[in-house]
């Protein structure tokens, strides 16, 4: 009976993130529109877009292979699983024990790998440009992310997220330089990974400046719907990750009962809203950087992650 309940809660969590992801994207867009003195579409617009895309036919390029058709499902699956592994409203859920932060990084890498392959597969020049830029970004973002993971694991003694979250709530953590550096590194990686300004512009119509959008230019119909949903899931994943590691307050523990779960969910939604607001504010206040500055930006993230880990070797109290 307990096992069934565990499965049920885990299932709820997976559904919750799937349902919340488009809302988060819509929320960020709505805030950005407001900041630009525009009325903007409703926060529910991404749902409408998805349902529209799901009903539309798929137009495939002549040069597209089976990989191009399969990639959206693989990307979506990898990102959904990865997002389900991050504790959201409750820590210590069933799946939480099956995979740790490094597995999440690997799942993200898998999704990116297939997306880049799909971009190359159709053989258009924009797909190629997008894939090559994405790989350049990934080659720096992934190590930076791993350095951040190492910093955390050195502190918490584990890479398993529920335990990390629990550890972060204990009094012995306090204010630490290494954690501040890790936070900064994670935020920078999150911006780059989610194709946000200043690394990429999710709203651009300029095909020559695109990174993520260039790779998915050839997608249409349900394939595009899955890609869009995956992108939303990824944004949600990173915000959840930031919330779970650096602001784990208000999270219910496994088996605490429906009321605690509901409370946790409310706090989780509030965290997402705050994260989305900050993201929109940041994006509005900055211009996109030149493509070749991205390596400096992510290089800084890598250095911050490295510094965080090194500081812990100097002194455990840093």
């Amino acid at each position: 009976m307990a096992l069934i309940a565990d499965y049920l809660v885990q299932g709820c969590q997976m559904l919750l993130i799937l349902l919340l992801a488009p809302l988060l994207t819509g929320w960020v867009r709505a805030v950005k529109a407001r900041l630009l003195r525009r009325r903007g579409p409703s926060v529910l617009q991404p749902y409408r877009d998805l349902s529209k895309l799901l009903r539309k036919e798929v137009v495939l390029a002549d040069s597209a292979s089976w990989l191009f058709r399969v990639a959206p499902y693989l990307i979506f699956a990898a990102l959904w699983v990865a997002a389900a592994l991050v504790p959201t409203f409750a820590s210590g859920l069933l799946f939480s024990w099956t995979a740790d932060l490094i597995a999440i990084v690997a799942l993200l890498g898998t999704a990116r790998f297939f997306l880049a392959l799909a971009g190359l597969d159709v053989g258009t020049s924009f797909g190629g440009i997008g894939s090559s830029r994405e790989m350049m970004i990934a080659s720096l973002a992934e190590p930076a992310m791993l350095m951040m993971v190492f910093t955390l694991s050195l502190l918490a003694g584990t890479t398993e997220l529920s335990s990390v979250a629990r550890f972060m709530l204990t009094a012995e953590v306090g204010l630490r330089v290494s954690l501040a550096l890790a936070l900064l590194a994670l935020v920078m990686v999150a911006i780059a990974e989610n194709a946000r300004i200043p690394v990429d512009n999710p709203a651009t119509h300029l095909e020559l400046t695109m990174v993520h959008e260039a790779m998915v230019l050839e997608y249409s119909g349900r394939h595009l719907a899955l890609i869009e949903l995956s992108a939303s899931l990824k944004l949600l994943l990173y915000l959840s990750l930031l919330g779970c590691i650096f602001a784990p307050w208000g999270m219910a523990t496994a088996g605490a009962g429906p009321v605690a779960y509901l409370g946790g969910a409310a706090i989780y939604v509030a965290k997402l809203a705050l994260g989305g607001l900050l993201l929109a504010l940041f994006e509005t206040s900055i211009a996109k950087m030149r493509v070749f500055r991205v390596d400096q930006f992510l290089g800084a993230a890598l250095m911050l992650g490295l510094l965080g880990a090194l500081l812990l070797f100097v002194s455990r109290s840093l």
Binding site: K32, L35, L36, R37, R38, S125, F126, G128, I129, S132, I197, P198, N201, A203, T204, H205, L206, E207, L208, T209, L217, T284, S285, I286, A287, K288, M289, R290, V291, F292, R293
Partner: protein, 506 residues
């Protein structure tokens, strides 16, 4: 070859009496060569090159004295000595002549068609006008060879809603090795439509060559007609025309400043500039009945006078700009991430700008102090006080700042015009002489100098009209501006140029 003045060279030819206000002469191939050498040697600047059946016309400006003129070379055997052979800015114009009129430039190093993509029902609409039989042949782009070079074809259909144009990049990774433009996708056959059109219809057509500079085009057309018919326009009409022209400049420069920032993903500037632009459009609609001021300037004057409350509406607009603009300029200037994108991007060598006689913001941001409002000048600008702003940095940032300076200048001009608007009628009658006459006008639009040349038939209809957009001499420089830049910076360079596709493709 000694140094001649343009006037002396044209005087050798057979002067055409009915051409006004500048002289036109029918010249021999020797004088033609002399002119081409003068263009190549930077003595003169190319203003325009166009053809009609059996003749090519070359409009030339002498910047030192401000004199200009047209040389016409009869070409009975269907060919003429190429200007582009020695003076590259003429090459695309010559390819256009070959496409439209069928006159072949002998010695033009680039024999490929330009506007004619092989999809018109007839070829050479101004010449033989033969129905097309052969299928279009593929266009051969200029080669760029080397290891690890790859081509990126962009357009003519773009991801955003913009005009169509094809850009062929040859790149090494992100670094652009060569950019070649292919234009002509918005060819509408305006010059053919103008053939035999009444003045009313022609004014409407010319006003639609490039919709965003409709006032400047209509003004250039009206001034050419008035020059041809030797009509004097009431003073108030001149001032109202200048008012409209400055409003148009204000709206477009504002839109451009925001759009350039938007291409660096800085949407905040774009949003605020769009609001300012909208205010200009609404004020224009309130004062003259059309948001873009289309068909407001006609030969003989302006369609409608400023309504009673117009002055107040425009004064309120200027006040609004004065309030809102400085914080926006500060925002542009103080956003380091934005400056990082614009400073040093898309540099064009001033020598190239001089060679191409490139006008407008691009020219003035690259040390060429040319403004048709000053040289040759037209009323009422000689009574107005304004300086020609010039910068030397010639990059995207320089072009943004030049636009900002010109916005301030236009605000001042609007204020001054409102202050000194002379009384009287806003429209006069055109003189109809009943004879063939020719006219020419050079007008400063927001992109640069617009040239309109026309010949009126004895019955007062248009026999031949050639509007030349400033973009003809700006598009080629965009190919140079992208050198040493990366592919991802092209939209920024392109937007800072903001050349017209429609005006170029005619």
């Amino acid at each position: 070859m000694g140094v001649h003045s343009l006037r002396a060279v044209l005087d050798v030819g057979q002067s055409v009496a009915e051409h006004r206000p500048w002289s036109r002469a029918i010249v021999t191939p020797e004088i033609w060569h002399l002119l081409v050498e003068g263009l190549a040697g930077r003595t003169w600047t190319l203003l325009g090159l166009w053809g009609e059946t059996g003749m090519v016309h070359l409009a030339v400006l002498e910047e030192t004295t401000g004199s200009m003129g047209v040389a016409s070379l009869p070409c009975p055997d269907g060919q003429f000595p190429s200007v582009g052979r020695l003076h590259p800015p003429a090459q695309r114009l010559e390819r256009t002549i070959a496409d439209l009129v069928g006159l072949q430039p002998v010695g033009n190093p680039d024999p490929r068609p330009w506007l004619d993509h092989g999809r018109w029902p007839i070829s050479q609409p101004f010449g033989a006008a033969m129905p097309r039989t052969e299928l279009p042949s593929p266009y051969s782009f200029l080669p760029a060879e080397g290891e690890s070079l790859h081509q990126i074809p962009v357009g003519p259909v773009h991801a955003g809603i913009i005009e169509p144009g094809h850009f062929r990049f040859t790149a090494n990774g992100e670094a652009v090795v060569r950019l070649e433009e292919r234009l002509g996708y918005v060819h509408k056959g305006i010059e053919s439509l103008l053939d035999g059109a009444t003045l009313e219809r022609a004014a409407r057509l010319v006003g639609r060559v490039s919709g965003d500079s409709t006032v400047a085009y209509a003004l250039a057309f009206a001034r050419a007609v008035e020059a041809a018919t030797e009509t004097d326009v009431p003073a108030r009409a001149h001032w109202l025309r200048a008012l409209m022209a400055e409003l148009e400049r204000l709206a477009n420069h504002c839109g451009d400043i925001g759009a350039i920032c938007n291409d660096a993903a800085f949407a905040l500037m774009h949003a605020h500039c769009a609001v300012l632009r909208e205010r200009v459009l609404r004020a224009s609609a309130a004062c003259f009945g059309h948001r873009l001021l289309m068909d407001c300037v006609i030969p003989g004057g302006v369609v409608a006078d400023l309504p009673a409350d117009g002055i107040n509406v425009l004064r309120a607009l200027v006040a609004e700009f004065r309030r809102q603009l400085p914080p926006l300029v500060d925002l542009y200037d103080n956003t380091a991430s934005l400056q990082d994108r614009t400073v040093g991007t898309g540099f064009v060598r001033p020598s190239l700008i001089r060679q191409f006689g490139c006008g407008g913001v691009i020219g003035r941001a690259g040390s060429r102090a040319f403004d048709a409002r000053r040289q040759p000048g037209y009323p009422p600008y000689e009574q107005l006080e304004f300086a020609t702003p010039v910068r030397t940095d010639s990059d995207v940032n320089g072009r943004v700042w030049l636009r900002i300076t010109e916005v301030h200048q236009s605000l001042k001009l609007v204020e001054e015009i409102l202050e000194r608007l002379p009384p009287g009628p806003a429209r006069g009658e055109l003189r109809r002489s009943g004879q063939i006459c020719e006219g020419m006008a050079l007008v400063e639009g927001f992109r640069g100098d617009i040239l309109v040349w026309l010949r009126l038939a004895a019955d007062g209809t248009v026999a031949r009209c050639h509007p030349r957009d400033p973009s003809w001499f700006q598009w080629p420089l965009l190919e140079a501006a992208i050198e040493n830049n990366i592919v991802a910076d092209f939209p920024l360079c392109n937007k800072s140029f903001n050349c017209s596709y429609s005006g170029h493709d005619l």
